[in-house]
Every structure is written in structure tokens, then in C-alpha cells.
Symmetry: C2
Subunit: 505 residues, 2 copies
Amino acid sequence: MRLVGCFLSLLTVFGPAECGNVLVWYTEGSHWINLKIVLETLIDRGHNVTVLVPDAALFMKAKESDRFSFQHFSVSTSAQDMQDFLDALLHFSVYEMDQLNLLQIQMKFYKLASKHQDMSISHCDDPIYACSDIVAEELNVPLVFTFRFSLAHTAERMCGQIPAPPSFVPGAMSKLTDKMSFTERIINMLFYLSQDAFCIIAWKPFDNYYTEYFGRPTSYCEMMGKADIWLIRTYWDFEFPRPFLPNFKYVGGLHCSPAKPLPKDMEEFVQSSGDDGIVVFSLGSMIDKMPKETSNMIASALAQIPQKVLWRYGGEKPDTLGANTRIYKWIPQNDLLGHPKTRAFITHGGTNGIYEAIYHGVPMVGIPLFGDQPDNLAHMKAKGAAVVMDNIKTTQPQDLVDGLNAVINDPSYKENAMRLSRIHHDRPMKPLDEAVFWIEFVMRNKGAKHLRVEAHNLTWYQYHCLDVFAFLLTVLIVVLYVFFKMCKFFIMRCCFSSKSKTKKE
Amino acid sequence: MRLVGCFLSLLTVFGPAECGNVLVWYTEGSHWINLKIVLETLIDRGHNVTVLVPDAALFMKAKESDRFSFQHFSVSTSAQDMQDFLDALLHFSVYEMDQLNLLQIQMKFYKLASKHQDMSISHCDDPIYACSDIVAEELNVPLVFTFRFSLAHTAERMCGQIPAPPSFVPGAMSKLTDKMSFTERIINMLFYLSQDAFCIIAWKPFDNYYTEYFGRPTSYCEMMGKADIWLIRTYWDFEFPRPFLPNFKYVGGLHCSPAKPLPKDMEEFVQSSGDDGIVVFSLGSMIDKMPKETSNMIASALAQIPQKVLWRYGGEKPDTLGANTRIYKWIPQNDLLGHPKTRAFITHGGTNGIYEAIYHGVPMVGIPLFGDQPDNLAHMKAKGAAVVMDNIKTTQPQDLVDGLNAVINDPSYKENAMRLSRIHHDRPMKPLDEAVFWIEFVMRNKGAKHLRVEAHNLTWYQYHCLDVFAFLLTVLIVVLYVFFKMCKFFIMRCCFSSKSKTKKE
């Protein structure tokens, strides 16, 4: 799924292995952070890595320090188009969305998604650099997906054939948990149904593109379903337990690593916090500035807590900034979260940041902004490791202070964060090693067909056995009909013979 | 499930770990072979292992060489009762079953199962040594199951909550594959439904026993569902890919190991086979003798092939035994299968033997006898690694010769066996290590609740969202009803006003 919020990046891998060649389809934003670590490990293990990047890419710029080769290709959209689109999406998500009703949000989202889709299709238009699954098909090489989720798990369900009973598997982005009331289960069901309908409409242009390209009826979903391995960037520390398939591998937190020492002046500031410790605060790489009243609200709240605060912020210094708070243009977030003085993490709820907090066992205060962030934080809240604000615009200083006091002073939050950390670390294999293992597996074995369920070759009514039920029901009805007819016949005969007998008498 | 053919053995594990105490519920037959290896590894890692054995146990006899302590407990059934039951079951399965119709088989099987159940319940009757899940509940310790399957996956589906769409997940023992025709899907559906009904009836005595024991309504299934980890003794080399759950771990083949050198005289016999190589032949530990005509049929077939044959057989020497065939009371099966001269394996299709063949990449000729063997061999046939005889009684010498010639001379069988072997070996962790990891995990973490799906807390109609559908359907009907009523009202009004207008005019 290449719709915004669906967070898919693609890896096309080809053998023969020992030292293989890995072809990588472009990705944007924080997904690149994750992918890069996997690719660097592959290079360390002797593979060649080539990344296909459209000219319009914003994040995947070639840097001299990078050890893999970037292969650029021209597309009809420009980087400016891409940036404009991203700005429009961010503005809509953070500042407009809560003033609209559900239908308006859906309409606006569809409009934005259509725009993104046009840009995505333009990336397929070059005769050499087509879409990643087309590349895999054309080169006859195995295909590996790596992503966090698709909206309401539509791609995983419809194309990957993963089972997801709406009664206990909340749709991604629904903010629901696995424990749902009757009303919540109705909401989840409607969410699934509406997103399925949305995707069927939204994927139509891709279906047409693919059909035209291959010269035979080919759907977007069918091509996605050919992937050998789906590397999902969560695990059961973050995700609610749910059914899955042998070719779905949960490698969440693969970018996490032990904390490194802090820069000297930062370490001094952290140490100056004494027993109270520190609070780490970042709203992620995409939100660098905020309206003055918002930053003042936040700064005034932070000024009220006894902890020292390290705040990653690119905007103007707020008037209400307390003596305990320092603003940094950039912070070594993972190293700070792994510092023994860290008591809490104020986060927008991006998956990468949440995973660093889970890795180091730090409780969170969430200020969700857009995309999957409210949903991510709903997971952390349900697992007892976070307090979550409703909205950055409606949050009052006291809410933030109360939230911070709760996660710092109520031991249950720290205990739950540590429990998630234990779950994260106590697994048979590190997530990065597992991701690399399965990429190398498809290189060694030319795919992983033995992990692909037969469900891919069934129609929806076959999958749900509707044809079988229809047949059994028909048989049952015919049997009952014949039975009743025969009963009637014998009863009639019985009555008739007794009547004729009476007559004769 | 403690019904014969369901192959369940139970492990009750309790912490605190580093060096923990492991309490093991008894098991019989070839299951003990698997379990023992896991237990020995646990002892090697510093844990204490105590095995609870009823006096009536046939296989789990204390031996001096064993490093774990057996704790015996008295039951009202004797070892002789147990042996009689087993003999009756074997006789029924191998020699009676094919002369009966399906209903007769089901009735007879139900009678045998009831007898086994009575014996099982008698094991629970002692006030100290109750059933394994009761022990876990009473001691408040984590519970680990390890087994191969339950009939039609009933226990895994109904109690473990594993999803199993009948459209592509063949019921265990059905002899079906994941690729089913319309007719086969009907058969699979009926198999699921009949076994569900069978289990609901057959589990009633356990439900009653559990309810009485706990003094509150408690079902057998509910108690099984409390297991932290289900160690399933298959993997995707043997099993068809299917949906599963985070607390289901597939550890098939954990008993396999590299081949050790053969005894000197055996090695000389094997080497004497030259380029033709050898065939290894065993019908497992439970069938030691067979009728003279059967052994003569087999021996005359084996005499016709150019390979040397090593046959594990405890009965009288057949008259037709060829010069190329040697009979042994016992063979080092794993070492023989791993020998470079081995060309084929004639097997009854027990899981342990099949896994040894997969481990070493040896194609098979199957002569299924009873229990899960026909189903196991159907898997190997579907994966192209075996030729399977219908039945030991109807097999003609030429069938066996043809089967052996096919798997030895048609390279596809060897290729497929080697492919399964690659799948078996090329996994992130060895199955024995994985089994031990998860047992130690529940000891370290006092369970694995984070892997247990919420489905356990839903009713069947909630799980399938039937209440949600009923509600949505009601809303739809009401809305449509009101809509049509309003339409009718306005149309009537419209007509009426136009009529009255006409009248006035």
C-alpha cells in the first residue's frame, strides 16, 4: 500500500546468495531509519545493496558516507510537489482534522490519498524502474516487504491473507485495543468494512496500471500477495496478540541499540538533576516548530516539575521556559532514553521513539499529532506504560503536569514499561538478526513458498466456505422436503385407506 | 486432549528460574522419545526435572540411567488394563477398520475413546496427583503443552483458539492437503463439524470432573486454554502453511541429530551395497510382528530390488527373504537414515521416523498402519517426497517394488526430500533450542500472558461477530422500513392532494 499512513517500503532481493545482490525500493521518513539499519547489516555481511530513488525523494538523499549505491530515476513529480503534499497532509492532520466530521475527514483523506497515488503511479511510469513488485516479477526474484501496518490492516488482510477477526483484532489506526465492548466491536467492524471499500476504490488506478503493464487482468493486491516474506515492524511488546501467518515475521524495534555515552555538557546537565532525574521530550523529526501559544503552554507545564527536561525543538524559545528545561535542536534520543537518570519520555508516539522507550523500559507521556501516533499511544496506554493527552491544542499545562507526575511517581507505569522491555529483549532472536535471516533465507532458497498459505488461491466465498455451506444447506432442504412429502403421502394413504374402509363398512 | 490419536503430553513448569523446577505429566509411546530429549536438555542447563508417572504406565519406566526423578502414583487401572486397551486399539486400527463402514468406525472409536477416558480420569482421582492443568492451577505455575496434534485440530481450535479455515487447513487425520477440490472441502467441513460434536460429547465427563474438583462450572477446554505455550511437534517442512497464534511454537524434529557411525558388521553390510545403496525399513516400535503372508509378501518384494535392505523386524524369518535383505531386532534408525548410502526409507509413517527422514533428506515409501500415519504420509506424498501404499493387507509385492523404484530412480523424490531437509535446517533456531527457550521463558517470566489472544474471553458468537452483524442488520432493516413508510406517506399525500385538487376543480 503506498497510501500515506500505510507505511510500506519494499525490498526486492535476489540471489544466488552467499554474497547476493539486494535491490531496494525507495521509502520516506522514519521508515528509512529502520530500513537503513537492515541494509547496513546486509552490507556488513558481504551483500551488495542498490537503492532505487526517485528524483522527488525528500529523505533518501545520497550521502558520501553511505556504503550502498543509490540509483536515481526521473519522475514527473518534483521534490517540491512531494514537500507540498507532505505539508498539506501534516497541516490537515494536526490542525484541521478535529474541526471536521467523520465524513469530511474521509473525503479530505481520500483527496490527499488520490494525490499521493498519482505521484506513486508516476514513479512506476519509467519503462525501467517500475513499481517494486513489477520489478520483482520482471527479474523473477523473491520479494520482501517491510512495513509497520496498513490502515485497518487492509493490505495484510486482503492481500497478505492474514486472518483478523474484528472481534479481538483492532484495525490499525482505530485506537481500539484487543479488549472491546459491544459498541467498540461495532465500530471496529464498520472501520474494517469502510476501509475495505475505500481500498477497493483507491486501488483501482493501480489495478488498471498493472493490468495494462502485464497485458492480462492483474490486481494490485494479487501482486502484493506474491511477497515471500512480510517483515512487520512490531512485536508482542507493542502489538496485541493476534493470529498471523508463517511468512509474517515480527521484527519491531530492530533499530534499537544500547545507549552510548552522552556529549559532555549534556551529561553534566543530566547529572545535575540529582535523584529527581530527567524527562526526555521530542515530537519527532517531522514537527520542528509549533504555534507560540502551544510552546508556551508546554514550557509552563515543564517548569512545574522537579525533573530536568531535555527538549528537542527547532522553534523560537518560549517565554515561559523554566530553569529546569533546556532546548536542543537535536538530541541523541536513544542514548538519553537509555540513561539511568531518565524517568519519563514525552513523545508524539512515532513507532521508532516508542520502541526506543520500550527497549530501555521508560514510561511515556503521549501527545499524539497525526497518522498512526494516536493508535500507537493507545497501545502503550492499554499496556499501562503511558498516559496520553487528547490533543496538542486542547491540552492544558495541568494535564501535562499530572501526566508526568503519574508516570514518574506511580510505580505501575515504570513496572509495565520494564515488563514490555523484558518481553522485547527476552526473545529467541534479536529483531535485526531475524530480519536479516529471512532476507538472506529468500536469497539462499530463491523465495519462501513453503510459508505461503493456499488461501491466496481461493476466492472470498471459497475462503469462507460459503459454497460449501450453500451446498450443505441445499442438501438439507431437499432431504427435509422429500421427508415431509413422504410423510404426507403415507399419512394421506393411511387416512384414505381408513376412509375407504369406513365407506365399505 | 487425552483421547488416543490426539497425542498430548503435558509439561508443567514452575519458577523462579535460573535453576528452576520442572514438573512433567506422564506421556506414552513415541511421545516420550521426544519429551525425554527436551527434559535431558533442561537438566543439562541446570534445572530439576520430576516426572509424574501412574503405576499403569507402559513406557515411562524408571531406569537407572535416567537423570530425572520419577514420582509414581497409584491409579485404579493396572498396566495390564493399559496393555489390553492398546492391543485392542491396534488390532482394531490395523485389521478391523477397513471392513467397517464410517458409522461403525465412529461408534467403535467412541467406545475405545470412552475406555481410555475412564482410565485417564482414574489418573486424576488421586487427591494429590490430579490432571496436569489442575496441578498447574493449584500450584499457580505456568503450563506448557507439547504434542503433535489433536484429531481435526479440535483441541487447538476449540481450546487454544487457533484459527483454522476449513477451506485450506485440512483437519489432522483427514488425509487431505491444503489444496482441496470442492468435494474435499465439503468432506473437510463435515470432518470438522463431526469432530467438534464428538469432542463436545466426549469431553463431558472431564467437564464434570473439573467442575466437581473446583466447585465452580469449569470446562476441560477452558482449562486447556490457560496453557502459556503450545509446543507443536511439526514445522513447515511437514505441515502445510496455516494461520497460527503467538503462543504456538512449531518445534517439529527436535529429536533429530546428525548420524553417528554404525556398528562394524552393519557398516560392512551397508558398504557391500556398492553404488546401489541401501533401503532402511521399519514399521515402528509398536508393530513388532505381522501375519506370515504379509511378511512373505514384503520379503518377496524386497528380494527384487538391487539395493541391500536393513529391516527392523521381531517376527519369524519370512520364507521368501532375499539374499539382499537382513532382519534386525533393532536398528540405529537415525544413523542409518543419515548414512550416505541410504537411498530410501520404508516407513509406517510415524512422525518421529518421518522427521528423521526429512532431517537427512531421504525419500520414503509409506505403508501406513493406524492413527496419524496415513495422514502423515499424505503430507509427504503431497510434498513429493514419498510414494504411499494403500494398506498393508492389500499391497502386492509389485506395488512395493514399483514404489521403491520410483523414489530411488525418479530424481524428483530425492530433490523434494532434500528441499524439505533444507527447510528443516534453514531456520532461525534449532527446534530443540526453541522448545527449551520457551519453557525457560515461562519460568523466567512466570508465564507468557502477552502471547495469549483475547479470543479466549469471547463467546463463539462474539468471536464470529454474530451479535454485531445482528445489530447492524436490525438497524438496516429499521432504516429501510422507516424510509419506505415515509416514501409511501409522501406519495399518498401527493396523490391525495392532487386528487382533492382535481375534485375541487
